[in-house]
Amino acid sequence: MLRVVLLPRLRWGWLAALALGPLLAAAAYDVARVLEAAATRGPRVVEQAQALVQQIERSGTHDELLRLKDINDFFNRRLAFREDTVTWGLPDYWATPLESLEKRAGDCEDYAIAKYFSLAAAGVPTARLRMVYVRARLQGQSLAHMVLAYYAEPGSEPLILDNLRPEVLPASQRPDLTPVFSFNTEGLWQGAGQVTAGDPMARLSLWRELVAKVRAEGFI
C-alpha cells in the first residue's frame, strides 16, 4: 500500500493523484506499515526502524512522563545535529522520522517532528503536544529554534523536549527559550476527511506535506 502510494508519486505524481486519490492511508499507528516503509529505504533503516518500533512498544506500557524521556533520549542519541543544507542540499527541509533515521541526522525541527510522531504513535494524545517556534539564546547569540512542548493539562506549564538540552525540563527551567508561536496536528484534517500524500491540499505547506508523508509511513 505504502509503495503504491509513495513511489508512483515521485515519478508520475499527478497521474497517481488522479488515479489513486481514493486509496487512503489509514489514520492510525501501524507497525507493519512503518517497517514496510523502512524496508524501501534499505536494511540500515529497517534496523533503526525496528529499534524505534520496539522503543514505542516498550514506552506504550510506561506512564506519559517516562514515555517523554524514552522518546526524547532515543532521538537525541541516534540523530546528529546537522544543517539541512548539508543533509539534504536544501535550505530548509522537514524530514519524517524514517528520513531522519536514514540520514541519522537532522536539525532542530527534525528532532521535534520525530519526537512528536513517535509520542503520538506511543499513545500520547496530540492535543497535549505542540511544536513551538522559539527564540533561543545560545552563547550570547540569538537563533530561531523549534522544540516540542508537552502539556499534561490544558493551560498547565509545559515540559520541553529539545536537542540543545538533552533532558526533559519544565518551561520555567528554560529561560534561554522564548516561545513565539505553536501548532500541532489538531484540526488539521478536520472535515477534510480523506487525505493522501497525493492530495494537493497536503503539499501546500511544509507542515501539511510532512504530516501527509508521516501518515503514509504509518505513524499516525
Binding site: R130, S182, L188
Partner: protein, 639 residues
Amino acid sequence: MSLMRQIAWLVLGVVLAALGGAVGLSTVSTQGLMRTQLQLKNADNAQSLALALSQQKGDAELIKLLVSAQFDTGAYEFVRWRSPKGEVVFERSEAPRPGQAPAWFRAWLPIDVAPGVAQVSSGWNAIGTVELRSHASYAHDALWFGTRRLVAWMLIVGIGAAIAASVGLRRIRRPLDAAVAQAEGVLAGSYGQVTEPRVPELQRLTRAMNAMVQRVKDLFEAQAGQLLVLREQVHHDPLTGVSTRKHFLAELDAALQRDDGPVIAGLVLVRLRDLPGLNARLGRASADEVLLTVVSALQAYPESVPGCRVGRLNGGDFALWLPAEGVAAETAHALADALRASLPAYGPGVQVALGAVELPRERPSSVWLGEADAALARAEHLGEARGGFVVEIVAEPGIGREQGEALWRAQLQQAIGDARGQLVEYPVRDRAGRLLHLECPLQLQLDGEFKPAATWLPLAVRARLTASADLFAVALALKAIAADGHARCINVAASSLADAAFLPQLRESLAQWPQAARGLLLDMTEAAATEHFERLLELGQQLRPLGVKLGLEHAGASLAQVERLYQAGLDYVKLDASVLLGVAGEAGRAAFVRGMVIMLRSLALKVYGEGVVDEMDAQALWDCDLDGITGPWVTEGRG
C-alpha cells in the same frame, strides 16, 4: 426501428452524452477547485489569525478585538476563540448568506468546507484555538454562473452539431431512399433504373439492382421479340404481311364489340379481279408484285391512323377497317386514285373493284361483311360494263345525328350530374368458375333509356366529359362493392388519364370508401398506357397503397411493343378478343397466346381473356394457363 431513425438516435445520444459529460465533468471539477480554495483560505486565515493572537500576551480584550476586526473586514460565517478545554470564549458569527444560486443547485453541488483551526498560545501557555469559516455563497454563485454559461455554450454547440448531423443524414438518406424505392418498385412489378449514388456501399447495391433490372428488361425484350416473330407467322399473311382472313375477322369482331370506338365506322373491300388469270398471264412473280402494290396502298392507313386494320380475306380480296365516321367513301376514292396511278405499270387487264360501307358499329359483323360484299358486287357489276377501277359506296347515315351535338352534350352532362346511370356487370371467372371480379361498363340514361358506352363515349371524349363519367362509374362501383363485397372493374378512358384533375378527384372518392377501394380494378387501353405513361406511373404510385389494382384492357398483338411495360407496375392484363377468337381451332394462335401469358407472368402480371364466345375457345384458353376469362360465353353461364 428504421435504419435512419437508429442512426439519428445514435447521433443524438452521442452528442447529448458528450455535451452532458462535458458540462457535468467541468462542473464537478470546478466544484472541487472551489472547495479546495475555500478550505485553504479557511486554514491559512486561521493560522495567520492565531499567529497574531499569540503575540498579545494572553490579553483577552485585545484578542477579542482582533477576532472582531478579522470578522468585520472579511467574509466569514464565524470566527471563534475556544479555551484549551474546548469552551467558546468569544464568537462572532452571522447566518450563511443566500447568494444567487438556487437552493436546488446548492443542494445538488454542495461546497462543504471544514473550518480552519489554529492553536493560540501566550508564551509557553496554550490559551486555546481559533476556528473560522468563510462564506461559501460567492463560490456557489461563481459555480452557478459558470455552469449556466457552459450549458448555454454547449446548447449552441449541440444545436450546431444536430443541424450538421441532420444535413449529413439527409445526404445519406437520399440515395438510400432511391434504392428502397427501386426495390419496392421491383416487388410491385415496376422495373425502373436509378442513378448510382456516390456512397460506395449504396453504389454497389444500386449497381446490382440496376443490373438485375437491365436483365429483366433484356429478358422481356427477347420474349417480346420472339412474340413478334410468332405473331407475324400466325396472324399475318406470309406474302403481304397483312392480317390473315381469320385474324382480320377476329379483329373486326373485337373492334365492333369494344365500347370506346366511334358510333359509326367504315369498311372498305378491295378486290384484285381475276387473280388466277393474272397468274396465268403475268406469271406468279409479277402477280405477287401486283398484290404487294395493292397492299402497300392499303398499309398507308394503319401506319398513320391508330385503330385501322388491313386484312387479306382471300386471294385478291383485301379489307380495310376504318374506325371513324364519314371517311369510308373518301378513303375508297383515294385508294382507287392511288391504285389507278400505280397498277397500269403491270399492263392492261389489271382491274380493281372497291366497295365501301359505313354503318353503325352496333351492327353484327355478318351485316357489315354482307353489306360490304354487296357493295363490292355492285362495283364489280359496274366494272363489267366500264372496266378498270370502280368504286361503290354504301353509306348509311348515323343514328340520332339529327339532334345535334350541343343537345347531346347537354344531355350527357345532365345525366352525369344527376347521377342517372347504372353499371352493367359482366363476370370474369377463373378456371373453377369462381367469380374474380365484375367488369362494369357504365350506361347513362339518355332520352329516357340506358345507353351503352359505345353510344355516348365518343361524344364524351369530344366534350371532355370522360373524367366525370369515369369518376361517376367509380363512385357507383365503390358503392356496389361496399354493398356486396364483389370486386369490380371500371374502364378509364385515355382522355381521363390525360386530365390533370382526374387523379386528385379519384383519390378523394376512394378516400371515402377505404374498404371498398381494395376491391376496385381500373382498366386502361394500351393506347392510354403508351400515350400517358407518366400519368400511369403516378396513378400506380398513388393508388396502389389504397389497394386499387391497375391493368390494361384490349391488349392485343401490339402489347409486346408497349415500351417500358416492365416499368409500368401493373397488376393484370386483359387480352383482346382479336387475339383470342378462334384460338381453339388454330395451334399457331394458341402458341401466340401461350407466349404472351409466359411473358406477362414473368412480369408478375395476371392475365385475363376478353370476349370469349364458345366453350372450345374457353378450354383452349385454360390450356394456355390464363388466370380468368370473360365474354358472352362466361356471362351466359359458361356451358
